[in-house]
Symmetry: C2
Subunit: 326 residues, 2 copies
């Protein structure tokens, strides 16, 4: 079908974005079980704190003259917003960002400080209001998941993993809107089909796990997905482009609990010296709870953490269960 | 004079340690002043949380049969201890580590958990008691600074910086015992003499700044240097090997205050997603306070931070001055 991303698209994306995106290393986790060594891919080290820069830049760079003329609009819970705003500032584009009014204040402030116009909407409108604004004002939409150019950009994470660790056995990737999971699964399977690519979701927002089980796209209401502390993973996999690639290439999805996620944030900070937001820590949580063997890679997708939450998990490790009730 | 480290020694060290040491990236700091862009070299991502792994491994790998027979002894405030203990565990060596009884508990615990025998001594004996044990029991000393093999290992940090950013204008490096500063200055100046290499010390432990000013090695008493929160930077530059290289190659030393150091720990965590210990954050503090222009690199030397201190700086940014009184 049209719109599927190929390895050639991914390699072209890697070339296109290399002047701006950080080639993140694989950081060995020193406290891993010797029978299941772990490397962490810290996308938190991107200038915008998350992998989202890859897809957004791969898209915008291909439509730059039009974007300059029309301005751009994006919708996001935070990290896509920040990446689009950062790119707009560097490239001199007008940017309007639609965010759910439940997004963490630190994520909203950062977007505003980058000079973008923020439009806050109820979570139920977050995925559609951007298109309304595009229609009304002529802005060019830069969507977070459902675009082959965006998926190809996120897929460069998988390309780099296989370049650095060609015999990786298991790659753990967070699943939200599905752009990263679709891209990474496509890249890894194209390069080494026997490497397992496992999605990770919070149990409280495990729409994709249910969708894969049932073989059809299932939507969870915001009231349900917004229970998880992992604010970057509350979106459903509803886009056709990521869904098709996930359905074909992802080997499965595992879920993690809220306490596991917060404990993972704590251990990443202290044992790996990496600041992760809850959404970025789910893969490490899955590794800690898992029983798969061989060489593991956990994609730490983002590090835009609320300072108070990070301080809390550092000092109250035994009371994690209370934290996400806030 | 004999004992000076050459570029050939440093290249040989880079080859020797490449099977174990992480080739850390240069991470661009997104919030840098455009007129003085900054890259951070996060040695905190080494498996032992600090650059110390480089020098210790370059030394031990060259004397492995003897180390196996005799066992090894090392003295350190923390990160050298942890690196030696970690290497001893992996290589099957007996390790005895002499640490000051004022070392942070988290640093002492980590060394014990790695299977090394810890001997706690008053700070005034930390640099000599290891040699007493070596004499008494026949252990092979693996010293933290005053050994060309150790300096050459630390110097690989400088080699990597110039490989990744060949036109760096300013490299900021912490100064304590002087191994890292000596090594980095030697490597950078050999590759590009016009790049400035600036040492950074806490004002409360600025023995090296005074030494450079007076052209002779000046010792500060532990009672004086132990006032700084940067527990890894309390040692004097007393070794002949690092002193000779620092005197020849370092362009100068700047000092930073305690509040600046703690603010740097906070900003590294939130703005760069990197966990730093105070000693590792001094170079970033110097960048923030500095006025040098051009392309900067700040070496983040270590990330073995006390969790409570990190939590405190994350939540009490306006009360930083109180924190290091604890």
């Amino acid at each position: 079908m049209t719109g599927l991303v190929t390895l050639a698209d991914i390699r072209a994306a890697a070339d296109r974005i290399s002047d701006t995106v950080v080639r993140t290393p694989l950081v060995p986790f020193a406290l891993a079980d010797p029978g299941r060594p772990l490397w962490i891919k810290p996308e938190s080290l991107q200038p915008t704190a998350a992998f989202k820069l890859r897809g957004a830049y791969n898209k915008i760079k291909q439509v730059l003259p039009e974007a300059r003329k029309r301005g751009i609009v994006a919708h996001s819970s935070g990290n896509h917003a920040r990446s689009v705003a950062w790119l707009a500032q560097r490239l001199g584009l007008r940017a309007v960002i639609v965010m759910p009014d439940t997004a963490p204040p630190n994520k909203i402030d950062i977007v505003r400080e980058l000079g973008a116009e923020v439009v806050l909407v109820p979570p139920a409108l977050r995925d559609t209001h951007g298109f309304v604004l595009a229609e009304r004002h002529g802005y060019l939409p830069v969507v977070p998941f459902d675009d082959p150019a965006v998926v190809a950009g996120q897929a460069t994470v998988g390309l780099e993993i296989m370049e650095d660790l060609p015999d990786a056995d298991v790659v753990l990737v967070p699943v939200s809107g599905g752009g990263l999971a679709a891209g990474v699964a496509t890249a890894v399977k194209a390069l080494r089909p026997r490497t397992l690519v496992i999605g990770v979701e919070p149990a409280l927002a495990s729409d994709a796990a249910q969708s894969l089980r049932e073989g059809r796209r299932v939507a969870w209401e915001p009231e349900r997905t917004y229970r998880t502390v992992a604010d970057g993973l509350r979106t459903n996999v509803l886009g056709e482009v990521p869904w098709e690639q996930i359905r074909r290439h992802l080997d499965g999805i595992v879920t993690v609990g809220e306490e596991q996620i917060l404990d993972a944030v704590r251990r990443l900070a202290l044992d790996a010296r990496l600041v992760a937001e809850p959404s970025g820590a789910v893969t490490f949580a899955a590794y800690l709870a898992g029983e798969t063997t061989g060489k593991h890679v956990a994609i730490l997708s983002g590090g835009s953490v609320n300072p108070q939450l990070l301080a809390d998990v550092l000092t109250e490790p035994t009371r994690l269960e209370a934290l996400h009730e806030r």
